[in-house]
């Protein structure tokens, strides 16, 4: 059973409506509309989701530390957004395709991206880390909103080829102000593209509060573009999983795109180069710490009578393994060859670039002979 668009859209006329299955204290709330979408999530599945979140939080912390140690040039932390990213990524099928921004490390992790593939771009060693076709995830996008159009184009093709694959586009609250994201909504609706717009409203676009981009829930944008929009508690991994499954399912069935606003919070700085103290208070942070996505799932699992020592030990072990892999991965990243600066500009021979490359090789050769000038 799936809620009709009318119902889903209906939610939006009551802005404060937020799909929440798991509250901040771990209380499970029945929801006839979305419970069916996680009927298969048993205790083991809950433990898996918990482990996923513990692992990616640890990976994120490790990467942040590596940046502080000078091993990475920059790192955009996902801390606080674990449920939004894990819940949505767990809803994907293998043949779906992800078009993300720069902060979806948890999504990449679940798509099988290796630590060295994840870090190389932030280390400044490579233009990008992984083969998009192997992971079914495009390389991260830094131009705000641009990937949303790519996700729609991919989905248009999926529909024309009559597959049941869908694409998902991750972007932030700030991105909703860019023309590209709005045009993506227009194209997606016009072509009934099987695409899910997954907006992580983490409250901030660097120093700008979401209120500067929009005076009301971003999910309300969807209706005007002819698709259902849903606001979900982005720190509730169950709700995110359910809502994303619902959206992907209807997309696969040819019912077109949907827009999900996952309301969450960026607990850390925008990037390691940012100082949030300049634009937000600790109270903000404190309030959101109360709504931690991991704590609440931990409480639910505990309430189910599971052996929490085992659960925690298992999660910690997985996190330790991942952290070790990450550090090992870092050392596995090769420094690029100077002449590789010319690689892959074109897929076919290019007379101008070849001449430039050849001349630069001669230039570098001088030093091998002379050494320092």
């Amino acid at each position: 059973m799936t809620p009709s668009d009318r119902e889903a859209t209906g939610l939006l006329t009551r802005p404060d409506d937020l799909v929440r299955l798991l509250d901040a204290t771990g209380g499970r709330h029945a929801n006839p509309e979305f419970d069916p979408w996680i009927a298969d999530v048993d205790l083991d599945a809950l433990v898996d989701l918990h482990r996923d979140m513990v692992v990616v939080r640890r990976l994120d912390a490790e990467a942040t530390a590596l940046q502080r140690q000078g091993e990475l040039g920059l790192w955009p932390p996902l801390a606080g957004q674990e449920a939004a990213q894990i819940g949505s990524a767990r809803a994907l099928h293998d043949d779906d395709f992800v078009f993300s921004s720069y902060r979806e490390h948890a999504v990449a992790w679940l798509r099988g991206v290796r630590p060295d593939e994840l870090l190389s771009v932030w280390r400044g060693s490579a233009a990008s880390g992984w083969d998009p076709f192997e992971k079914r995830m495009a390389i991260p996008q830094i131009i705000i909103g641009a990937q949303s159009l790519h996700a729609v184009g991919w989905a248009m093709g999926a529909r024309w080829e009559e597959t049941t694959a869908a694409s998902i586009s991750y972007f932030g609250d700030g991105a909703t102000s860019e023309g590209d994201v709005n045009e993506a909504l227009v194209f997606a609706s016009s072509f009934d593209a099987p695409v899910v717009f997954f907006c992580q409203n983490n409250g901030w676009a660097i120093s700008e509060p979401v209120g500067l981009q929009s005076k009301q829930p971003l999910a309300r944008r969807a209706d005007g573009f002819g698709m259902p929009g849903i606001r979900v508690d982005g720190n509730d991994v169950l709700a995110v999983l359910a809502v994303t499954r619902w959206a992907l399912d209807r997309a696969r069935r040819g019912e077109g795109p949907a827009f999900i606003e996952a309301v969450t919070y960026r607990m850390g700085p925008h990037t390691t180069a940012d100082d949030p103290k300049r634009y937000r208070t600790d109270d903000d942070l404190a309030a959101w710490r109360e709504r931690d996505p991991i704590t609440r799932l931990h409480a639910l699992i505990a309430a189910s009578g599971a052996d929490m020592d085992a659960v925690d030990a298992d999660a910690k072990a997985a996190a330790d393994r991942a952290a070790a892999e990450l550090r090992a991965g870092l050392t596995a990243i090769p420094d690029p060859e100077p002449m590789s600066v010319f690689d892959h500009v074109y897929a076919e021979p290019n007379s101008h670039l070849e001449r430039q490359r050849e001349r630069y090789a001669r230039y570098l050769a001088m030093f091998d002979e002379e050494g320092e000038r």
Partner: protein, 339 residues
């Protein structure tokens, strides 16, 4: 060989590409039901269906951006920008995505996208309908930029552009759309001249005249007119603006020692600047005089009744040739000092 118009030649080239590879899709505003405002895609939607020839919403960034996503899926999108002046809303998707994705993805993601742009003036159009934006693209690493000047080339080059695994900005001189020419519709592409190679359309010994698009015909006429005055002009149709086929230009300039480059686009930072600078670097010792540029003025495209005073025409090109030849010309009486 059949005789068809320039526009029809592109239409036939697109038809053949659509027929030979079902990954080829055409996208754009009014290209389906209407067949395009210039009718270049006339009949193609009816023949190949709405999923191959796609009328899109009115959004250039949307067209190019979704084409990128389709390329990610293995399609070979051919997008039409209705007029040159409307390509700018898609500039970010072209420059930051289409041009850079193969590099950014370390060769894993190919962008075999063709952006068709009817370009240039001479049709008495309203503002934004007569632009020559080519230099914005030739300065953008990752793109190939070509301009065709006649039906036969148009038919072959559009297919070569579609077959290219690199993104191609495909410039169509709109004022030539109705000109007819001989085209071999059964031509074997394998035997065709690569789109990266220039064509010497008139041979001469005194001066090398390089141009592209609509001005190629004007340049040929100039060569004919100059011949009567005893000046022998070699006319080179550039065809590819990025990369430029310098081998052909150099060989000619080594013989003539004189170079004139002509285009409708403004002079400052135009394609002519790059060719003048490169040829000076490559064969300085062969040059009798500084390369001469004959271009549109560095002004926004003027109203229709003034375009004749903006576009290089036969006389302005001949004046440029006279400057290169040291014959009496518009600047004869000023030394470069006070110029």
């Amino acid at each position: 060989m059949t005789t068809i118009t320039f526009g029809k030649a592109i239409n036939e080239g697109l038809r053949r590409a659509l027929a030979e590879d079902d990954k080829v899709v055409l996208m754009g505003e009014d290209i389906g039901t209407l067949g395009g405002v210039f009718r270049i895609t006339d009949g193609l939607k009816a023949e190949f269906g709405e999923h191959r020839v796609v009328d899109t919403p009115l959004s250039e960034a949307g067209i190019v951006g979704t084409a990128v996503g389709l390329a990610y899926r293995g399609f070979r999108p051919v997008v039409e920008i209705q007029f040159d002046g409307f390509v700018y809303p898609s500039f970010d998707q072209i420059v930051a995505q289409v041009a850079k994705l193969h590099y950014r993805s370390r060769g894993t993601v190919r962008m075999p996208i063709v952006v068709r742009i009817p370009f240039g003036g001479g049709i008495g159009a309203a503002e934004h309908h007569s632009e020559s934006p080519e230099a914005y693209f030739t300065h953008t690493a990752g793109l190939r930029v070509v301009a065709c000047s006649n039906p036969a080339d148009a038919y072959v080059m559009i297919q070569q552009a579609i077959a290219s695994d690199d993104p191609v900005i495909f410039l169509e001189p709109k004022r030539r759309y109705h000109v007819k020419g001989e085209v071999d519709l059964d031509a074997n592409l394998a035997d065709a001249r690569p789109m990266g190679v220039a064509t010497t359309v008139a041979t001469g010994d005194d001066v090398t005249l390089v141009t592209y698009g609509a001005l190629v015909q004007v340049a040929k006429d100039a060569a004919t007119a100059a011949a009567e005055e005893g000046v022998s002009i070699e006319v080179i149709d550039l065809r590819s603006l990025a990369p430029v086929d310098y081998a052909t230009i150099e060989a000619s300039v080594r013989r003539t020692g004189r170079l004139v480059v002509a285009h409708e686009a403004g002079e400052q930072g135009g394609v002519g600047a790059e060719i003048a600078a490169s040829i000076t670097e490559r064969c300085f010792e062969y040059l009798e005089v500084a390369p001469v540029r004959v271009t549109g003025h560095d002004i926004p495209y003027p109203p229709a009744k003034l375009e004749q005073y903006h576009l290089p025409d036969l006389d302005r090109i001949l004046d440029g040739v006279d400057r290169a030849m040291g014959r009496p010309n518009s600047l004869s009486d000023i030394s470069e000092v006070d110029a």
